[in-house]
């Protein structure tokens, strides 16, 4: 391969996965499909979705937005290329064979041409786009959207003080990474459809419902005429669109079957044709049809709009269960056959790339990983344990076929059966990091306290990275703010300014920190900036809520939502009667801020081992030649060690944010709650923050989510959980998801006893009412990284009976010995 073939992280991951799968498992069909995908070296940008969407939108200007969106979907369904993948048992994709990404010009049309124009010149770009397609984007698609995108409208609407914390005021395409909005790069925050509805009544049933409602409208009512009628018409068109799209697959499959020479594949194609003729229009008659129907719905949703991290899959082990058990009992299916179908879905998911057109570089970025979470386990709507045979099948699939897709999320609760937790633990032990764990004992009471009833709360589905949705009750789809708390810390030190942005007064002046004489002065200055940031995030949100309703519609999501159908109102509208709005704002750099404040409090104001001036000198030179100061700062109390000193500061930071939202979020009509789910944003947000008093060097990543700073948690995983617990304010309902990553050494998991301990550990996390938990099992690669970067890995423990040591304290010789043994035995 020449150097032009730089692989994106996603490609590298896929290749790695392929290697592993090839060695380990003989899953012929899924493997063949993956192999086939690999023959297309680079992912392709497919422009068809953008083309037909734009074509239709050009024709419908002036009409109600939801109707325009549905018409655009119909136009796409009629014209977009339809593919029947080789070997796959499922059909339905949003773009060409191989890995592909699609464009959403309604989001980024204002700069899409710039980005695409650059592309053919960039040899290292991980994406391919044909010359005609590029020309189409530049000449036809982008020009139409200029001046019409939500992004442009938002930039114009933000008041100056808010704008300069959000974008570069001279170039709104450039994020500041201080108080970022995320609403302009996705049409919706994470979301979960009520897939069960499709399986119960089909789109035919939904359409008939809309037709009935249409017939009962008051012919004289202006609201019925101007709001409800177009809404219902949009729903009918949308149902027609997805049915049409499916039937085009049926025709195509039948056509290919005619010339197919392999009798087995010929039969498969005829079955596919029959199924696509039936679903998603009608309720499925068996498990296979149910899976295909769900897949069509999911894919059509991807075509319709860009949902943050992709629309999640909901409680698959619940809504597929009746189909599965009936087929099993009646001898139509085996476990193996069901696995084959599900794994056809997983490999299809892995081919879709969540493409982001980067505004910063005017270039195309690699697609971020997507989290179309499949929820398993948890409780039934009446509060009983919900695990069933299908739950275990999902876990088995993940163990034996450890693809990154789907993102498997296990709901646990106080009465989760032992078998479930053991199988979850066994799956984690396989080392892929799945499933992530979401805790009913934290999620459900919070949902209840914010207005859900028991039935809905028990039936929540995991959505996005760590959030939840209650289909038919949640009505909030707005993207939200990512707030850089570490930037607030920097502004505390530099009087409302940041090193990167020079002399610009970004936040309120709080005085020269060198002159601070007491901890209280420092703390109050910090709080001033933190609160100021949240204030501007809320101002952003006020604009976001108002403007999104003018720019985005979501007919498919609305068709599948009881409240939207009842009120005849699109899901993206701000107020839907009977709904609950769960929104968030994000704290980024939590551990960084706690550790920095704790270090100053202890070393400057209490022990008086350092002066503010000494700290400033060390920060100004990025600790070059000031290693001793850096070490002192790093050895101060730190978050993640169950250390009361640091954890108290963490709890105070958390509480201050909660108090703000308690006072003001009702004005937005939203539970705009505090969340610690970083995605991968702690990296770009770290890039704008200069050196911090926790010994962190300038422009390096911040602490992620509610996890400790890199390498700071040196007391093992129990302390990590307890610090998380200690810093939460359980007396506030304004809290939301906290993402927590735990590193485990494989020796922890050896044998039956290791498994038992992991189960106990998970149960304890459940008792502690922690929201989320995800494990990384340390492998050879981790240890190699630790050898190169001892500072970042000084928490890495090597444990054997009666003894343990920090890996980085060992001599290179011993380290190598451990590395060579890691793959076989425990460390």
């Amino acid at each position: 391969m020449s150097s032009c073939c730089v692989l994106s992280p996603q490609e590298v991951r896929l290749e790695e996965e392929l290697k592993g799968i090839e060695q380990m498992y003989g899953r012929e069909r899924a493997f063949k499909i993956l192999k086939e995908v690999q023959t297309y070296r680079r992912p392709i940008i497919d422009v068809e979705r953008a083309k037909y969407f734009t074509e239709s939108m050009k024709q419908t200007e002036g009409q109600p937005l939801v109707l325009r969106w549905a018409k655009a979907m119909k136009h796409i369904a009629e014209n977009i290329s339809v593919y029947i993948d080789k070997d796959n048992l499922l059909v339905g994709r949003a773009g060409c064979p191989g890995r592909y990404g699609i464009l959403y010009p309604e989001l980024d049309g204002d700069f899409l041409d710039l980005a695409i124009k650059e592309l053919p010149k960039r040899v290292e770009s991980p994406f391919n786009i044909s010359e005609e397609d590029a020309q189409l984007v530049v000449e036809d698609i982008a020009p139409f959207w200029k001046g019409k995108t939500y992004h442009e409208a938002l930039a114009k609407a933000l008041p100056e003080e808010t704008l300069k914390l959000t974008y570069d005021p001279k170039d709104p395409l450039k994020s500041r990474f201080i108080v970022n909005e995320t609403s302009s790069f996705r049409s919706s925050l994470q979301w979960v459809h009520d897939f069960e509805k499709v399986l119960k009544i089909g789109f035919k049933g939904i359409k008939e419902g809309a037709q009935k409602q249409l017939a009962t409208l008051d012919p004289f009512s202006p609201v019925d005429n101007m709001e409800k009628r177009p809404y219902l018409e949009a729903i009918i068109i949308e149902c027609d669109a997805i049915i049409l799209w499916a039937k085009r697959h049926a025709r195509q499959a039948a056509e290919i079957a005619e010339t197919e020479t392999d009798p087995q594949r010929k039969q498969e194609l005829l079955t596919i044709a029959e199924i696509c003729e039936w679903v998603p229009e009608n309720p499925p008659r068996n498990f296979y049809e149910a899976v295909q129907s769900q897949w069509f719905t999911q894919m059509f949703s991807r075509i319709e709009q860009k949902t943050g991290t992709i629309v999640s899959n909901g409680r698959m082990d619940q809504y597929f269960y009746p189909f599965y058990i009936k087929d099993l009992e009646e001898g139509r299916i085996t476990e193996e056959k069901a696995l084959e179908l599900l794994e056809c879905m997983w490999v299809s998911m892995s081919q879709f790339i969540d493409l982001y057109v980067s505004p910063a570089g005017g270039a195309i970025n690699e697609g971020y990983a997507h989290w179309e979470a499949v929820t398993i386990g948890g409780q039934t709507p009446d509060g009983k344990d919900a695990t069933n045979e299908l739950t275990y099948l999902f876990l088995r699939s993940k163990r034996e076929f450890p693809l990154n897709y789907p993102d498997l999320a296990a709901r646990i609760h106080a009465r989760s059966p032992e078998r479930f937790l053991y199988e979850v633990a066994e799956t984690i032990k396989e080392g892929s990091g799945f499933p992530k764990i979401i805790n009913d004992e934290e999620v459900i009471p919070l949902a209840l306290s914010k207005g859900a009833n028991f039935e809905e709360a028990f039936d929540y589905a995991v959505s996005g990275c760590a959030e939840h949705r209650m289909p038919n009750r949640d009505t909030y789809t707005s993207g939200c703010a990512y707030i850089n708390f570490a930037a607030a810390l920097e502004m505390t030190l530099y009087n409302g300014k940041m090193k990167l942005y020079g002399d610009e007064q970004l936040s309120v002046p709080t005085g020269d920190a060198r002159e601070f004489k007491t901890w209280d002065e420092l703390w109050n200055a910090y709080l001033t900036h933190q609160t100021n940031f949240i204030k501007h995030a809320f101002i952003q949100q006020h604009n976001i809520i108002r403007l999104r309703a003018l720019h985005f519609a979501f007919p498919l999501g609305s068709a599948l939502h009881d409240l939207c159908m009842k009120n005849c109102i699109d899901l993206h509208q701000p107020v839907i009667e009977g709904g609950i709005n769960f929104g968030y704002f994000e704290c980024i750099g939590y551990g960084t801020v706690i550790d920095s404040l704790a270090a100053i409090k202890k070393l400057v104001f209490e022990d008086k081992k350092l002066t503010m001036n000494e700290i400033f000198e060390a920060l100004e030179c990025n600790f070059e030649g000031k290693e001793d100061i850096k070490e002192m700062l790093k050895n101060a109390p730190r978050y993640g060690n169950n250390d009361e000193y640091a954890d108290t500061i963490g709890r105070d930071i958390d509480r201050a944010a909660l108090e703000f939202t308690k006072d003001y979020s009702h004005e937005l009509g939203v539970h705009l709650d505090l969340r610690y789910v970083p995605f991968t944003s702690h990296v770009p947000f770290g890039r704008v923050v200069s050196a911090t008093p926790n010994g962190r060097k300038a422009w390096t990543p911040l602490a992620d989510g509610s996890s400790a700073s890199h390498g700071a948690d040196v007391n093992g995983p129990t302390a990590v959980l307890l610090s998380n617990f200690n810093t939460k304010n359980y007396n506030f309902r304004e809290r939301a998801a906290r993402l927590l990553n735990i590193k485990l050494s494989p020796s922890t998991l050896v044998g039956e006893e290791g498994l038992r301990n992991l189960v106990s550990f998970i149960r304890t996390a459940c008792d502690l009412r922690l929201w989320h938990l995800q494990f990384n099992v340390i492998n050879k690669e981790t240890l190699l990284k630790a050898q190169k970067d001892p500072e970042g890995y000084r928490n890495l423990l090597v444990r054997v009976a009666g003894y343990s040591a920090y890996f980085c304290d060992l001599s290179p010789d011993l380290q190598n010995d451990i590395i060579s043994r890691t793959e076989h035995i425990n460390i």
Binding site: G625, E627, D628, I629, E631, M632, N635, N642, N715, G716, P717, T718, A719, L722, S747, T748, E752, E753, G754, R756, N757, S760, F761, R763, T764, D767, L768, V798, R799, V800, A801, G802, Y803, S804, A805, C808, D809, L810, S811, L814, D817
Partner: protein, 310 residues
């Protein structure tokens, strides 16, 4: 924390480490409390910092920033024991050092540290109880280790007694080299005893551990007679050239196999403790040896024949 000789040994003791999430030394998720002092001096010891009863200065040169960047320790050293050595690392003259530990406090990176802090029973248990919610679910609790915990008999027994009173699951690792009266008392407060038997050959035992094994074996017999219901885990560190052969292991197996409530475990030799010899200014007595994996496996098979695996 400076060295203090006058303290109430019933209430205070020297602890050199408290380690949470320990999962190899007793059931469930446990907290391991390492007590200073040991009557043995095993040549393979992986915790050499545990051997002396009193606190001891450790120096990890890997963590040291180097004297070209920091000389805080040299500046505070009253006796002049710390000097600039080779390759920008310090040299400690341990004959001159009075263990005042000012250097530990001055060291920014933790390269200089002290092995052994004087702690009260209450302080120790307060640390241990931080993880009590994990014990509830896992059946874990406190494990005493060392060193030899019973080399601080009053403190160790006091800890176990109070832990029991606080409804904790207790375990203790011991080399068995102690007065029967002390072991006897400790056993009253234990849910599990982890008992090391290194070799049945007394001469060899003395050569490698500095003590002979009679007292140890006698204590184990008494223990089994008096506390038949107490679960006992016998462990043997398998050391190349010392006991890595079928004869030695079989002899141990013959000694323990008919005793009540006994389980047995082999601990393969490892060198992970070697850096710590350097930290405390000592040489590693065993030099560069390795355990033979095949040999280890055949010994494991031998054990499995006698003790059917769970």
């Amino acid at each position: 924390m400076a060295l203090s000789l006058n303290y109430d040994k019933n209430k205070y003791g020297h602890v050199f480490n408290i380690q949470q999430f320990s999962i190899h030394d007793g059931p469930g998720i446990r907290t391991l409390v390492f007590l200073k002092g040991c009557p043995l001096q095993c040549s393979w010891c992986s915790n050499p910092e545990s051997q002396k009863p009193q606190p001891e200065l450790g120096y990890n040169s890997n963590k040291c920033l180097g004297t070209n960047k920091c000389i805080r320790c040299i500046e505070v050293c009253i006796t002049g024991a710390i000097t600039n050595g080779t390759e920008n690392k310090i040299t400690i003259d341990r004959a001159v050092c009075t263990n005042c530990l000012l250097c530990v406090d001055a060291c920014p990176s933790g390269a200089l540290n002290v092995y052994g802090n004087l702690m009260s029973i209450d302080q120790v248990l307060k640390e241990v109880e931080k993880d009590s919610i994990f014990y509830t679910r896992s059946g874990g609790g406190i494990s005493l280790s060392g060193g030899e915990p019973l080399s601080q008999p009053d403190f160790a027994i006091g800890l176990l007694k109070e832990a029991k009173r606080r409804r904790m699951n207790t375990a203790m690792e011991t080399c068995g080299y102690t007065d029967w009266a002390i072991l006897n008392e400790a056993c009253q407060y234990l849910n599990l005893i982890i008992f090391d038997i290194k070799s049945m050959d007394s001469k060899k035992h003395k050569r490698y551990t500095h003590v002979s094994n009679e007292l140890i074996l006698e204590n184990f017999n008494k223990l089994c007679n008096k506390y038949p219901d107490l679960p006992k885990l016998v462990r043997t560190p398998v050391i190349p050239g010392f006991n890595d052969n079928e004869t030695d292991i079989q002899a141990i197996l013959d000694f323990i196999k008919d005793k009540p409530n006994v389980k047995y475990e082999l601990l393969p030799y490892h060198r992970l403790g070697t850096p710590k010899y350097e930290y405390i200014g000592r040489d590693y007595p065993l030099g560069d040896i390795k355990i033979d994996d095949e040999k280890m496996n055949s010994l494991k098979e031998l054990v499995e024949k006698t003790f059917a695996k769970e």
